[in-house]
Symmetry: C2
Subunit: 227 residues, 2 copies
Protein backbone atom coordinates (compact mmCIF):
# COMPACT_ATOMS: atom_id res chain seq x y z
CA UNK A 1 0.00 0.00 0.00
CA UNK A 2 1.37 3.41 -0.88
CA UNK A 3 1.63 5.96 1.87
CA UNK A 4 0.26 9.45 1.29
CA UNK A 5 1.64 12.67 2.73
CA UNK A 6 0.76 16.34 2.64
CA UNK A 7 3.87 18.48 2.16
CA UNK A 8 3.89 22.20 2.97
CA UNK A 9 5.85 23.67 0.10
CA UNK A 10 6.95 27.30 0.05
CA UNK A 11 9.43 26.92 -2.78
CA UNK A 12 12.33 27.76 -0.50
CA UNK A 13 15.40 25.68 0.19
CA UNK A 14 14.05 23.98 3.31
CA UNK A 15 10.66 22.91 1.99
CA UNK A 16 12.20 21.64 -1.28
CA UNK A 17 14.61 19.48 0.72
CA UNK A 18 11.80 18.29 2.98
CA UNK A 19 9.75 17.30 -0.07
CA UNK A 20 12.70 15.36 -1.54
CA UNK A 21 13.11 13.61 1.82
CA UNK A 22 9.44 12.56 1.94
CA UNK A 23 9.58 11.36 -1.68
CA UNK A 24 12.70 9.32 -0.89
CA UNK A 25 10.83 7.69 2.03
CA UNK A 26 8.26 6.42 -0.46
CA UNK A 27 5.36 8.76 0.15
CA UNK A 28 2.90 9.80 -2.53
CA UNK A 29 2.94 13.56 -2.18
CA UNK A 30 0.17 16.14 -2.03
CA UNK A 31 1.83 19.56 -2.03
CA UNK A 32 0.24 22.62 -0.47
CA UNK A 33 1.40 26.20 -1.05
CA UNK A 34 -0.06 29.55 -0.01
CA UNK A 35 -0.44 32.81 -1.79
CA UNK A 36 -0.60 35.02 1.27
CA UNK A 37 0.22 38.37 -0.22
CA UNK A 38 3.93 37.80 0.33
CA UNK A 39 6.11 40.23 -1.55
CA UNK A 40 8.28 37.51 -2.99
CA UNK A 41 5.85 35.85 -5.38
CA UNK A 42 8.86 34.20 -7.03
CA UNK A 43 8.51 31.70 -4.18
CA UNK A 44 5.27 30.39 -5.67
CA UNK A 45 6.86 29.89 -9.09
CA UNK A 46 9.62 27.95 -7.37
CA UNK A 47 7.04 25.89 -5.48
CA UNK A 48 5.38 24.92 -8.79
CA UNK A 49 8.72 23.95 -10.31
CA UNK A 50 9.79 21.88 -7.31
CA UNK A 51 6.40 20.11 -7.21
CA UNK A 52 6.72 19.26 -10.90
CA UNK A 53 10.34 18.10 -10.57
CA UNK A 54 9.36 15.54 -7.95
CA UNK A 55 6.14 14.38 -9.62
CA UNK A 56 3.73 15.16 -6.82
CA UNK A 57 0.24 13.67 -7.19
CA UNK A 58 -1.40 17.06 -6.72
CA UNK A 59 -0.31 20.63 -5.92
CA UNK A 60 -2.84 23.02 -4.38
CA UNK A 61 -2.19 26.74 -4.00
CA UNK A 62 -4.48 28.37 -1.46
CA UNK A 63 -5.17 32.10 -1.44
CA UNK A 64 -5.15 33.45 2.08
CA UNK A 65 -5.16 37.11 2.82
CA UNK A 66 -2.95 37.72 5.84
CA UNK A 67 -2.71 41.37 4.75
CA UNK A 68 -6.15 41.82 6.27
CA UNK A 69 -4.38 41.72 9.62
CA UNK A 70 -1.05 43.18 8.52
CA UNK A 71 1.91 43.64 10.86
CA UNK A 72 4.68 41.79 9.06
CA UNK A 73 7.39 42.95 6.69
CA UNK A 74 6.51 39.99 4.46
CA UNK A 75 2.90 41.01 3.89
CA UNK A 76 2.75 44.68 4.83
CA UNK A 77 4.44 47.92 3.81
CA UNK A 78 7.22 47.51 6.35
CA UNK A 79 10.68 47.49 4.78
CA UNK A 80 12.60 44.19 4.86
CA UNK A 81 15.82 45.04 6.71
CA UNK A 82 19.30 43.83 5.91
CA UNK A 83 20.35 41.10 8.31
CA UNK A 84 21.96 42.19 11.57
CA UNK A 85 24.54 39.40 11.41
CA UNK A 86 25.62 39.76 15.04
CA UNK A 87 22.12 39.29 16.43
CA UNK A 88 20.42 36.87 14.03
CA UNK A 89 18.18 34.38 15.86
CA UNK A 90 18.16 36.39 19.10
CA UNK A 91 15.01 38.46 18.57
CA UNK A 92 11.88 37.73 16.59
CA UNK A 93 12.33 39.78 13.40
CA UNK A 94 9.83 42.01 11.58
CA UNK A 95 9.52 39.33 8.91
CA UNK A 96 7.55 37.24 11.42
CA UNK A 97 4.00 36.66 10.10
CA UNK A 98 1.54 36.19 12.98
CA UNK A 99 0.40 32.59 13.39
CA UNK A 100 1.66 31.69 9.93
CA UNK A 101 2.64 28.07 10.53
CA UNK A 102 -0.50 27.57 12.63
CA UNK A 103 -2.66 28.70 9.72
CA UNK A 104 -0.62 26.69 7.18
CA UNK A 105 -0.79 23.51 9.28
CA UNK A 106 -4.54 23.98 9.77
CA UNK A 107 -5.10 23.95 6.03
CA UNK A 108 -2.76 20.95 5.78
CA UNK A 109 -4.90 19.22 8.40
CA UNK A 110 -8.08 19.86 6.39
CA UNK A 111 -6.35 18.65 3.21
CA UNK A 112 -5.05 15.54 4.98
CA UNK A 113 -8.48 14.65 6.29
CA UNK A 114 -10.14 15.06 2.91
CA UNK A 115 -7.46 12.94 1.15
CA UNK A 116 -7.61 10.31 3.89
CA UNK A 117 -3.96 10.88 4.68
CA UNK A 118 -2.21 10.70 8.06
CA UNK A 119 1.16 12.29 7.40
CA UNK A 120 2.14 15.94 7.11
CA UNK A 121 5.68 17.06 6.29
CA UNK A 122 6.86 20.55 7.22
CA UNK A 123 10.39 21.86 6.70
CA UNK A 124 10.72 23.77 9.98
CA UNK A 125 14.17 24.13 11.37
CA UNK A 126 15.32 24.88 14.88
CA UNK A 127 19.01 25.55 14.19
CA UNK A 128 19.79 28.12 11.48
CA UNK A 129 16.49 29.92 11.79
CA UNK A 130 15.18 33.32 12.67
CA UNK A 131 13.72 32.74 16.11
CA UNK A 132 10.13 32.26 14.98
CA UNK A 133 8.19 30.64 17.85
CA UNK A 134 6.26 28.36 15.50
CA UNK A 135 9.42 26.55 14.34
CA UNK A 136 10.20 24.96 17.72
CA UNK A 137 9.75 21.23 18.48
CA UNK A 138 7.48 21.89 21.48
CA UNK A 139 5.16 23.85 19.20
CA UNK A 140 4.99 21.03 16.64
CA UNK A 141 4.33 18.48 19.39
CA UNK A 142 1.47 20.61 20.80
CA UNK A 143 0.06 21.07 17.30
CA UNK A 144 -0.02 17.32 16.75
CA UNK A 145 -1.86 16.71 20.03
CA UNK A 146 -4.44 19.33 19.12
CA UNK A 147 -4.83 17.99 15.58
CA UNK A 148 -5.55 14.48 16.80
CA UNK A 149 -8.40 15.86 18.90
CA UNK A 150 -9.71 18.04 16.08
CA UNK A 151 -10.61 15.55 13.43
CA UNK A 152 -12.99 12.74 12.66
CA UNK A 153 -10.07 10.44 11.82
CA UNK A 154 -8.28 11.37 15.05
CA UNK A 155 -11.39 10.38 17.00
CA UNK A 156 -11.54 7.12 15.08
CA UNK A 157 -8.00 6.33 16.27
CA UNK A 158 -6.10 7.00 13.05
CA UNK A 159 -3.31 9.17 14.41
CA UNK A 160 -1.76 11.93 12.39
CA UNK A 161 2.02 12.31 12.24
CA UNK A 162 3.73 15.65 11.64
CA UNK A 163 7.19 14.96 10.20
CA UNK A 164 9.93 17.55 10.66
CA UNK A 165 13.03 15.91 9.17
CA UNK A 166 15.02 19.17 9.07
CA UNK A 167 14.34 20.19 12.65
CA UNK A 168 17.83 19.62 14.00
CA UNK A 169 19.95 20.12 10.88
CA UNK A 170 21.96 23.24 10.21
CA UNK A 171 21.70 24.90 6.81
CA UNK A 172 24.77 23.22 5.31
CA UNK A 173 23.53 19.79 6.46
CA UNK A 174 20.14 20.54 4.86
CA UNK A 175 21.86 21.47 1.59
CA UNK A 176 24.05 18.36 1.58
CA UNK A 177 21.01 16.18 2.28
CA UNK A 178 19.11 17.84 -0.57
CA UNK A 179 21.97 17.42 -3.04
CA UNK A 180 22.07 13.69 -2.20
CA UNK A 181 18.32 13.47 -2.77
CA UNK A 182 18.50 15.19 -6.15
CA UNK A 183 17.22 18.66 -5.29
CA UNK A 184 18.04 21.23 -7.97
CA UNK A 185 18.56 24.30 -5.77
CA UNK A 186 18.66 26.57 -8.81
CA UNK A 187 14.85 26.37 -8.93
CA UNK A 188 14.32 27.22 -5.26
CA UNK A 189 13.76 30.76 -3.98
CA UNK A 190 14.76 32.02 -0.55
CA UNK A 191 15.15 35.83 -0.65
CA UNK A 192 12.66 38.07 1.20
CA UNK A 193 13.53 41.03 -0.97
CA UNK A 194 14.27 40.03 -4.58
CA UNK A 195 14.60 42.53 -7.43
CA UNK A 196 12.17 42.67 -10.35
CA UNK A 197 13.97 39.89 -12.20
CA UNK A 198 13.69 37.65 -9.14
CA UNK A 199 17.38 37.88 -8.31
CA UNK A 200 18.10 37.49 -4.61
CA UNK A 201 19.35 40.45 -2.55
CA UNK A 202 21.97 38.53 -0.58
CA UNK A 203 21.40 40.84 2.39
CA UNK A 204 18.15 39.83 4.11
CA UNK A 205 18.31 37.29 6.94
CA UNK A 206 16.96 34.58 4.74
CA UNK A 207 19.69 35.12 2.09
CA UNK A 208 22.41 35.38 4.73
CA UNK A 209 21.48 32.00 6.23
CA UNK A 210 21.33 30.45 2.75
CA UNK A 211 24.69 31.82 1.62
CA UNK A 212 26.35 30.77 4.88
CA UNK A 213 24.91 27.26 4.40
CA UNK A 214 26.22 26.88 0.85
CA UNK A 215 29.60 28.25 1.91
CA UNK A 216 29.88 25.78 4.79
CA UNK A 217 28.74 22.94 2.54
CA UNK A 218 31.48 23.87 0.07
CA UNK A 219 28.95 24.17 -2.75
CA UNK A 220 28.24 27.15 -4.99
CA UNK A 221 24.68 28.50 -4.59
CA UNK A 222 23.16 28.21 -8.08
CA UNK A 223 20.56 31.02 -7.71
CA UNK A 224 21.23 34.48 -9.12
CA UNK A 225 22.10 37.35 -6.78
CA UNK A 226 21.76 41.01 -7.62
CA UNK A 227 25.18 41.97 -6.25
CA UNK B 1 -8.02 49.57 31.01
CA UNK B 2 -10.45 48.11 28.54
CA UNK B 3 -10.08 44.47 27.68
CA UNK B 4 -10.06 43.40 24.05
CA UNK B 5 -11.41 40.16 22.66
CA UNK B 6 -11.64 38.46 19.30
CA UNK B 7 -15.07 36.89 18.79
CA UNK B 8 -15.67 34.23 16.15
CA UNK B 9 -19.03 35.21 14.70
CA UNK B 10 -20.93 33.00 12.27
CA UNK B 11 -24.21 34.83 12.56
CA UNK B 12 -25.87 31.80 14.10
CA UNK B 13 -27.67 31.58 17.41
CA UNK B 14 -24.68 30.35 19.40
CA UNK B 15 -22.09 32.87 18.21
CA UNK B 16 -24.55 35.77 18.63
CA UNK B 17 -25.17 34.72 22.22
CA UNK B 18 -21.45 34.29 22.81
CA UNK B 19 -20.82 37.80 21.49
CA UNK B 20 -23.49 39.26 23.77
CA UNK B 21 -21.88 37.42 26.70
CA UNK B 22 -18.43 38.84 25.92
CA UNK B 23 -19.86 42.34 25.53
CA UNK B 24 -21.65 42.01 28.87
CA UNK B 25 -18.32 41.04 30.49
CA UNK B 26 -16.91 44.39 29.40
CA UNK B 27 -14.75 43.36 26.43
CA UNK B 28 -14.12 45.59 23.44
CA UNK B 29 -14.97 43.27 20.58
CA UNK B 30 -13.19 42.47 17.33
CA UNK B 31 -15.49 40.19 15.36
CA UNK B 32 -14.21 37.69 12.82
CA UNK B 33 -16.38 35.92 10.24
CA UNK B 34 -15.53 33.66 7.32
CA UNK B 35 -16.82 33.41 3.81
CA UNK B 36 -15.86 29.81 3.19
CA UNK B 37 -18.08 29.00 0.27
CA UNK B 38 -20.85 27.89 2.61
CA UNK B 39 -24.17 27.51 0.88
CA UNK B 40 -26.00 29.55 3.48
CA UNK B 41 -24.58 33.02 2.76
CA UNK B 42 -27.47 34.42 4.78
CA UNK B 43 -25.28 33.60 7.77
CA UNK B 44 -22.84 36.34 6.78
CA UNK B 45 -25.61 38.94 6.53
CA UNK B 46 -26.71 37.89 10.00
CA UNK B 47 -23.12 38.18 11.25
CA UNK B 48 -22.94 41.76 9.97
CA UNK B 49 -26.25 42.64 11.63
CA UNK B 50 -25.27 41.09 14.96
CA UNK B 51 -21.88 42.85 14.90
CA UNK B 52 -23.59 46.17 14.25
CA UNK B 53 -26.24 45.61 16.94
CA UNK B 54 -23.57 45.15 19.59
CA UNK B 55 -21.26 47.95 18.40
CA UNK B 56 -18.14 45.90 17.81
CA UNK B 57 -14.94 47.91 17.29
CA UNK B 58 -14.18 46.12 14.03
CA UNK B 59 -15.67 43.28 11.99
CA UNK B 60 -13.44 41.42 9.54
CA UNK B 61 -14.77 38.92 7.02
CA UNK B 62 -12.09 36.60 5.69
CA UNK B 63 -12.43 34.74 2.41
CA UNK B 64 -11.23 31.19 2.73
CA UNK B 65 -11.80 28.61 0.09
CA UNK B 66 -12.52 25.31 1.78
CA UNK B 67 -14.15 24.15 -1.46
CA UNK B 68 -10.64 23.56 -2.76
CA UNK B 69 -10.63 20.47 -0.57
CA UNK B 70 -14.35 19.71 -0.69
CA UNK B 71 -15.94 16.81 1.18
CA UNK B 72 -18.63 18.55 3.21
CA UNK B 73 -22.32 19.09 2.55
CA UNK B 74 -21.81 22.72 3.63
CA UNK B 75 -19.25 23.57 0.97
CA UNK B 76 -19.62 20.86 -1.66
CA UNK B 77 -22.35 19.46 -3.88
CA UNK B 78 -23.48 16.96 -1.30
CA UNK B 79 -27.15 17.31 -0.33
CA UNK B 80 -27.90 18.56 3.20
CA UNK B 81 -30.04 15.78 4.68
CA UNK B 82 -33.07 16.18 6.90
CA UNK B 83 -32.19 15.45 10.52
CA UNK B 84 -32.42 11.85 11.65
CA UNK B 85 -33.97 12.80 14.97
CA UNK B 86 -33.36 9.41 16.60
CA UNK B 87 -29.64 9.47 15.96
CA UNK B 88 -28.62 13.13 16.19
CA UNK B 89 -25.25 13.60 17.89
CA UNK B 90 -24.28 9.93 17.55
CA UNK B 91 -22.36 10.04 14.30
CA UNK B 92 -20.37 12.84 12.69
CA UNK B 93 -22.72 14.14 9.99
CA UNK B 94 -21.97 15.05 6.35
CA UNK B 95 -22.22 18.73 7.31
CA UNK B 96 -18.86 18.37 9.10
CA UNK B 97 -16.28 20.65 7.45
CA UNK B 98 -12.75 19.24 7.86
CA UNK B 99 -10.67 21.15 10.40
CA UNK B 100 -13.09 24.09 10.31
CA UNK B 101 -12.72 25.30 13.89
CA UNK B 102 -8.95 24.72 13.71
CA UNK B 103 -8.71 27.00 10.69
CA UNK B 104 -11.07 29.59 12.21
CA UNK B 105 -9.18 29.67 15.51
CA UNK B 106 -5.87 29.99 13.65
CA UNK B 107 -7.06 33.15 11.94
CA UNK B 108 -8.40 34.37 15.29
CA UNK B 109 -4.95 33.76 16.74
CA UNK B 110 -3.29 35.84 14.02
CA UNK B 111 -5.88 38.59 14.50
CA UNK B 112 -5.41 38.52 18.29
CA UNK B 113 -1.66 38.83 17.97
CA UNK B 114 -1.85 41.76 15.56
CA UNK B 115 -4.40 43.61 17.75
CA UNK B 116 -2.36 42.87 20.89
CA UNK B 117 -5.28 41.00 22.37
CA UNK B 118 -5.23 37.95 24.63
CA UNK B 119 -8.80 36.74 24.61
CA UNK B 120 -10.71 34.74 22.02
CA UNK B 121 -14.40 33.87 22.38
CA UNK B 122 -15.88 30.94 20.48
CA UNK B 123 -19.46 29.73 20.82
CA UNK B 124 -18.76 26.00 20.71
CA UNK B 125 -21.17 23.80 22.52
CA UNK B 126 -20.78 20.28 23.82
CA UNK B 127 -24.40 19.52 24.68
CA UNK B 128 -26.95 20.08 21.90
CA UNK B 129 -24.47 19.70 19.09
CA UNK B 130 -23.84 17.49 16.14
CA UNK B 131 -20.87 15.43 17.32
CA UNK B 132 -18.19 17.55 15.65
CA UNK B 133 -14.83 16.61 17.22
CA UNK B 134 -13.65 20.23 17.26
CA UNK B 135 -16.41 21.32 19.66
CA UNK B 136 -15.14 19.27 22.62
CA UNK B 137 -13.47 20.81 25.70
CA UNK B 138 -10.35 18.65 25.35
CA UNK B 139 -9.89 20.00 21.84
CA UNK B 140 -10.18 23.63 23.00
CA UNK B 141 -7.71 22.97 25.84
CA UNK B 142 -5.18 21.44 23.41
CA UNK B 143 -5.66 24.34 21.02
CA UNK B 144 -4.88 26.84 23.78
CA UNK B 145 -1.67 25.01 24.73
CA UNK B 146 -0.56 24.98 21.12
CA UNK B 147 -1.46 28.65 20.61
CA UNK B 148 0.61 29.75 23.58
CA UNK B 149 3.64 28.04 22.04
CA UNK B 150 2.94 29.46 18.57
CA UNK B 151 3.15 33.18 19.13
CA UNK B 152 5.56 35.92 19.99
CA UNK B 153 3.28 37.10 22.81
CA UNK B 154 2.93 33.55 24.16
CA UNK B 155 6.72 33.30 24.32
CA UNK B 156 6.83 36.63 26.11
CA UNK B 157 4.55 35.21 28.79
CA UNK B 158 1.30 36.93 27.85
CA UNK B 159 -1.04 33.97 27.90
CA UNK B 160 -3.97 33.68 25.57
CA UNK B 161 -7.37 32.62 26.90
CA UNK B 162 -9.96 30.87 24.77
CA UNK B 163 -13.38 31.49 26.29
CA UNK B 164 -16.20 29.01 25.62
CA UNK B 165 -19.09 30.29 27.73
CA UNK B 166 -21.68 28.10 25.97
CA UNK B 167 -19.74 24.86 26.27
CA UNK B 168 -21.99 23.19 28.82
CA UNK B 169 -25.32 24.86 28.15
CA UNK B 170 -28.13 23.19 26.28
CA UNK B 171 -29.87 25.07 23.48
CA UNK B 172 -32.75 26.38 25.61
CA UNK B 173 -30.29 27.65 28.25
CA UNK B 174 -28.31 29.42 25.51
CA UNK B 175 -31.49 31.07 24.23
CA UNK B 176 -32.57 32.19 27.70
CA UNK B 177 -29.09 33.59 28.36
CA UNK B 178 -29.18 35.47 25.06
CA UNK B 179 -32.64 36.92 25.70
CA UNK B 180 -31.39 38.26 29.06
CA UNK B 181 -28.37 39.80 27.31
CA UNK B 182 -30.50 41.54 24.69
CA UNK B 183 -29.90 39.30 21.67
CA UNK B 184 -32.46 39.82 18.92
CA UNK B 185 -32.70 36.28 17.57
CA UNK B 186 -34.73 37.44 14.58
CA UNK B 187 -31.47 38.63 12.98
CA UNK B 188 -29.59 35.37 13.53
CA UNK B 189 -29.41 32.58 10.95
CA UNK B 190 -29.08 28.90 11.75
CA UNK B 191 -30.41 26.83 8.84
CA UNK B 192 -28.03 24.79 6.66
CA UNK B 193 -30.50 24.68 3.81
CA UNK B 194 -32.50 27.91 3.51
CA UNK B 195 -34.71 28.73 0.52
CA UNK B 196 -33.99 31.63 -1.84
CA UNK B 197 -35.63 34.15 0.46
CA UNK B 198 -33.44 32.98 3.34
CA UNK B 199 -36.28 31.25 5.14
CA UNK B 200 -35.15 28.31 7.25
CA UNK B 201 -36.05 24.75 6.26
CA UNK B 202 -36.90 23.53 9.75
CA UNK B 203 -35.68 20.06 8.84
CA UNK B 204 -31.87 20.06 8.88
CA UNK B 205 -30.08 19.13 12.10
CA UNK B 206 -29.23 22.72 12.79
CA UNK B 207 -32.89 23.84 12.54
CA UNK B 208 -34.10 20.89 14.58
CA UNK B 209 -31.75 21.76 17.47
CA UNK B 210 -32.80 25.41 17.25
CA UNK B 211 -36.53 24.70 17.21
CA UNK B 212 -36.20 22.24 20.09
CA UNK B 213 -34.31 24.90 22.08
CA UNK B 214 -36.93 27.58 21.56
CA UNK B 215 -39.69 25.12 22.39
CA UNK B 216 -38.00 24.08 25.64
CA UNK B 217 -37.33 27.71 26.52
CA UNK B 218 -41.02 28.47 26.01
CA UNK B 219 -40.20 31.22 23.51
CA UNK B 220 -41.35 31.58 19.91
CA UNK B 221 -38.47 31.45 17.40
CA UNK B 222 -38.67 34.80 15.56
CA UNK B 223 -37.00 33.66 12.30
CA UNK B 224 -39.10 32.74 9.27
CA UNK B 225 -39.53 29.10 8.30
CA UNK B 226 -40.51 27.87 4.87
CA UNK B 227 -43.07 25.36 6.18
Amino acid sequence: MTKKAIILLSGGLDSATCLAYAKNKGFDLYALSFDYGQRHKFELESAKNVAECFNVIEHKIINIDLRTFGASALTDDIEVPDADKENMGKDIPVTYVPARNTIFLSYALAYAEVRNCFNIFIGVNNVDYSGYPDCRPEYIEAYKKMANLATKSGIEGKKLSIHTPLLNLNKSEIIKLGINLGVDYSITHTCYNPNEQGNSCGKCESCVYRLKGFKEAGIKDPVKYSF
